[in-house]
Symmetry: C2
Subunit: 383 residues, 2 copies
């Protein structure tokens, strides 16, 4: 299997882009990535596009073709990938597989989304109408998870709130972030109660946005001016129906982490910067544990100790994460990798993690109907 | 690049399955494919699922996970692929790439669809609301193509009708076919005019159904009892906006055909049985030309001479094609490969093509907004 490198990244600001189409958002991200890599559209041999909600919300299929055509990438194989919140990262993994397996030298990956829910409609991924009406939607599900984690490990509302405070602070340092205002712990705790213990500022927003990365083989990467970043691991798992009996952890994530660390021949202690799927504050705490950044049940302690702050030993979500940067579903997984690449290239500006040479991006999707549909973990290395 | 083999195939009957869910249809197809291969769900290392309309029509995402879980395939990487009518065949190609590149030994591919359009709503793939209201939907688009082909090459309504007669006859020999009744040329010509020259029986139906195939590496294939069928070529192209100025051919298909023949080191004359994307009768005639089964403009002559009938030199759509077997969008591309495998294994019953050792499956999707979004061609060989 050949090494695969990221040689260009780009994204739009995340937020509300009601006046822009999916393809227009994708266009900007792809153009930025092409410019960043210093290559022309004609050098791209294939395109992968992650999008979760376009067919349902915008009545748009073939989103990838629409986006890539806009930027002048034509004629090449284009594949649209849907894996809920992991749509973008799964698209990236397909591109990685294709290059590492020798099928292409240079591939573009885009993630695009406009999460414009019809008024009064909760975002629901693959859940039946009955479950949705009963309140089995994301905040409800994550509230159950949070309650279980509190009961089992003594995790506190204050610890969860600190996740939001940290990520919103990081967001103020990221010009691409949807939210640009710091929050206090009191503001998070006292914001509107959505589903106990989850308050409004414990939830990520619905967002619009796009992100893109350009991957290539090692041989091709050597001819690129930019510092190229190696993809040391790419793991994708799905649930097993049995893997979430415990409800205070995600076995599907633990399994993906084991696979990714083994593939990269690295461990949690070797990682310098992390982006995780903090759709809710409790998620980030559980991801600390799932990724082995701390033992099970000690995620709360980790945030208390400041370990995952920008200045801590292992900064998590320097970009602001989903909580502050925003969550355009199919774009988030790609945007995480964009952030990791900026960090590893020392281009992350005010939120730069010092001496970051190994980064990890984790995202999961479709936490409904028994278990998680997809969890991806990518480990990136600046050699 | 390693050789990849099809070792198991299965499908549901195509037709109206209003009482069955996407996952239930997919379950049956996958179970049949697993049984056919003589393997257990636990041997599957990854799953790919082609589905085009589930998110928009059934509000269902993560279709692949839902389907594979039903059949006992759990924990493994699952990827949902959308490429309009080429969704299933693109999923198959992703699986082929993954195995040939050395990532997996054994992969399942499913295509599932329920094409239940809300009453009065025309099937429209990615077209804007305005275009749809103006009648720029599939029958209208293909009517323009047909008129151009008639004008340019003298193709007749009778020749187009013969395509429908041939495929509906073949459908009567296929127990999986939605339509089981032969049609006369008069019946096709005199059926309801949809968009001149396209009549009702010149169109494929909207259908529900699922199909599945199991792919594996050469090493693994040797330990399987069934005759395994080699995938000699897998090509995927997209349009270029410029590639359809002529309107009486699809450059995107011609390009895919060139790539596929080159990959297989075979030419049109080496192919014994073909399945093409006969969404409309004119399509099959143009596919004859696009695939090089005859020179440009001579597709009408080919059907006149009976060359593509079951008993002809190069039978096309022995399964009944989309016209008779039906067209559950995301499933059709996989079902074509199921048919080719049955033909190459000499298991196609009454519609068996004699001495078929090389088969070709062609499908394309998203013929809107300037050009085709995806065209796949697979060449399969019984070594």
């Amino acid at each position: 299997m050949r090494d695969v490198f990221v040689i260009g990244v780009g994204m739009t600001t995340f937020g509300k882009h009601s006046d822009r189409s999916l393809r227009n958002l994708g266009f900007e991200a792809c153009l930025n990535a092409l410019k960043d890599a210093g290559i022309t559209p004609g050098e791209i041999e294939a395109g992968y596009c992650g999008n979760a909600l376009g067919p349902a919300l915008q009545g748009e299929t073939g989103v990838g073709q629409n986006v890539f055509w806009e930027v002048g990438i034509k004629g090449v194989p284009v594949v649209n990938v849907e894996n809920a919140c992991a749509s973008g990262s799964t698209a990236l993994r397909e591109a990685w597989m294709a290059i590492s397996g020798g099928h292409y030298e240079m591939v573009i990956v885009a993630g695009v989304e406009k999460t414009v829910m019809p008024k009064g409609t909760p975002l629901s991924v693959g859940a039946g109408e009955l479950e949705t009406k009963l309140g089995d939607i994301f905040p409800g599900y994550f509230a159950l998870i949070a309650q279980k984690h509190m009961e089992k490990y003594g995790t506190t509302k204050e610890q969860m709130a600190k996740i939001s405070v940290k990520n919103h602070f990081n967001g103020t340092l990221n010009p691409y972030s949807q939210f640009q205002k710091p929050l206090t712990m009191e503001e998070v705790l006292n914001s509107l109660m959505i589903a106990y213990p989850i308050t409004l500022y414990s939830c990520c927003p619905n967002s619009d946005g796009a992100a893109a990365v350009i991957l290539c083989s090692g041989e091709r990467a050597r001819r690129v001016k930019k510092q190229s970043i190696r993809i040391a691991a790419s793991a994708l798992t799905s649930g097993t129906y049995d893997s979430q009996r415990e409800f205070a952890s995600w076995e599907v994530e633990q399994r993906a982490a084991r696979q990714a660390y083994e593939m990269a021949s690295l461990g949690p202690k070797d990682v310098h910067v992390v982006e995780v799927h903090d759709a809710f504050t409790i998620s980030e705490i559980i991801h600390y544990e799932g990724l082995g950044l701390c033992p099970p049940g000690e995620g709360g302690r980790l945030i208390d100790e400041g370990t995952t702050e920008l200045t801590g030993r292992i900064p998590v979500n320097p970009s602001g994460g989903l909580l502050a940067k925003g969550h355009p579903v199919g774009a988030s997984g790609v945007a995480q990798v964009v952030e990791i690449v900026w960090q590893l290239r020392d281009e992350a500006g005010k939120r730069q993690v010092k001496n970051a040479r190994v980064g990890l991006a984790q995202i999961m999707g479709g936490n409904k109907e028994g278990d998680t549909k997809a969890c991806t973990i990518h480990i990136l290395v600046r050699d």
